[in-house]
């Protein structure tokens, strides 16, 4: 089993999720309760006849850090992100946000974490960009008083003003990707998981994404970025790993 841990942060959890830290969780170690996102001994096998796609993956993401995980197509990066996001369960091991698994407190887990899935799915084709963002803000259960302002702020921050009244099925792939990224950051989550976020983005879109990540880092958030190893990324990451044969190894 490969174990990787970043250095412990100076401020542990308190400013961002005090209510989570206060509650005692039996399944988590005290140290795990104070870390934004932890994967411990995560195993996942899709078919009994096949080798496991993840085999005892350990990963710790601390406050204010950015991590890149690469790997060949089919290496298990998306599976890793889906488990980290609480979308699917590991066969063994656990994913925890501030010491909680998604099964223990799904609503809080999803409030603190946001996932940008790979591809161009997850949008309602017949809704306008503004409707889409407002809908997402509502089901993200944002403070009702903030919804309108947050949506408008997001439209501006992600340079979607010209597209705000346009239906999603009339957007280009790059514009859809920008909207998907905007949805990911709309709620100002503490932990952001990005699966191949540069797909279809032009230089302007990549710049908008970079600004959003800058904002996340400025508020001591946590970033996990997955993309194929061949992708050339200019940005700085605090840690870089490659997923190969079900395990994380240093790049």
């Amino acid at each position: 089993m490969t174990s990787h841990s970043l250095q412990a942060p100076a401020l542990v959890g308190e400013p961002l999720a005090p209510t989570l830290v206060e509650k005692t969780v039996v399944s988590a170690t005290p140290a795990d309760n104070a870390i934004p996102l932890v994967l411990r001994g995560v195993h996942k096998r899709w078919h009994k006849s096949q080798a496991p796609v993840l085999e005892g993956v350990d990963l710790t993401l601390d406050l204010g850090t950015s991590t890149w995980v690469g790997g060949r197509n089919g290496a298990g990066k998306t599976t890793l992100l889906r488990i980290a996001a609480g979308l699917i369960d590991p066969d063994r091991g656990r994913a925890q946000v501030w010491g909680y698994t998604a099964a223990e407190n799904r609503s809080r887990y999803q409030r603190l974490l946001a996932l940008l899935p790979a591809g161009d799915r997850g949008l309602y084709a017949r809704l306008t960009v503004r409707h889409q963002l407002r809908f997402w803000a509502r089901i993200a259960m944002l403070d009702p008083a903030q919804v309108q302002a947050k949506v408008e702020e997001t439209i501006e921050a992600f340079e979607l003003s010209e597209l705000a009244e346009r239906r999603v099925d009339r957007l280009s792939m790059g514009q859809r990707q920008r909207l998907r990224i905007a949805m990911t950051f709309l709620t100002e989550p503490e932990i952001v998981l990005l699966d191949e976020p540069l797909t279809s983005l032009d230089a302007e879109g990549a710049e908008v994404l970079e600004r959003a990540i800058g904002g996340l880092m400025a508020r001591e958030g946590t970033l996990l970025w997955c993309s194929p190893s061949g992708e050339h990324l200019d940005r700085h990451f605090d840690a870089r790993w490659v997923l190969a044969e079900g395990r994380l190894v240093a790049e």
Partner: protein
């Protein structure tokens, strides 16, 4: 209270989303209006062509069948949830619900709201067309009572939709079996003809589901058809079915979602 309010607003957001999507397909609205017109025209002439025993006049059978036609749209709406869930799975938007604090369970329940409101409007439209074009006589004294009766009926119908939604999550098929189930319900629920025409075993079976008491009660309130049992019995049956089936269907949906998450198949479609 804040959490409850946010949850209520999220339910409202799902309804608004479905309304926007519905309104974006303009021809669907025209089609929905035309369907009851043609159905009622068909049964208006059937009521005049065939003498049905137990009905003193063609108008009384027409009144009987109009309520059945109005309710069939409500039934279709209940069963349409599974297809909606399948569309969400294919579009990847179900994944978004799973990743939201609102969650997939509440999301699926919220998805039932717009189709049901739409079906109620359609049922009202069907009755309105029946009155305006075909001389249907409503029993106005008890018509207002049909609204709470319909709400109760919906609570007893909804579990069937949720069960099929659970099946859609588990099997990735939206309309698996829904058409024959609706056809079966329309027969044993007495939507188009009286249950007395059915064989005895089928009549017995017709009392094992909520559609028969709901149809009879609504007919009684809307067109003053005689009830086979008392009003209290019909209401008690509906309350019983709702109390039994709603928790069971929510349990099934929850487990279908959790099973999909454990196996990892929740993201498949």
């Amino acid at each position: 209270m804040t959490e409850l309010r946010r949850s209520g607003l999220a339910f409202g957001a799902v309804m608004r989303r479905d309304l926007h999507v519905y309104l974006s397909y303009r021809t669907r609205i025209v089609s929905q209006v035309l369907t009851p017109v043609f159905s009622l025209t068909l049964f208006y002439y059937v009521s005049r062509l065939v003498h049905v025993s137990g009905f003193p006049s063609p108008a009384s059978y027409f009144g009987f069948v109009v309520v059945g036609i109005a309710l069939i749209s409500v039934l279709y709406s209940c069963f349409s949830i599974s297809e909606m869930v399948r569309q969400e799975l294919v579009a990847g938007t179900f994944e978004r619900l799973l990743l939201s604090p609102f969650g997939a369970m509440r999301g699926v329940v919220a998805m039932t709201l717009f189709p049901l409101f739409n079906a109620i409007l359609l049922a009202a439209l069907t009755l309105g067309i029946g009155c305006a074009l075909f001389g249907l006589q409503l029993h106005w004294a008890t018509v207002p009572l049909s609204l709470p009766a319909l709400a109760l009926a919906l609570l007893s119908f909804l579990p069937f939709g949720l069960l099929f939604a659970a099946l859609a999550v588990a099997t990735k098929q939206g309309s698996m079996g829904t058409s024959w189930v609706i056809a079966l319900i329309s027969i044993v629920g007495g939507l188009y003809f009286p249950l007395t025409l059915l064989p005895e075993w089928a009549q017995t079976a017709s009392h094992l589901q909520p559609f028969t008491p709901a149809t009879e009660l609504l007919r009684h309130l809307l067109v003053d058809s005689p009830l086979q049992t008392s009003t209290v019995t019909a209401i008690a049956k509906l309350v019983g079915f709702a109390a039994l089936l709603l928790p069971a269907s929510l349990f099934a949906l929850h487990h279908a979602i959790r099973l999909g998450q454990r196996r990892g198949t929740i993201i498949e479609y």
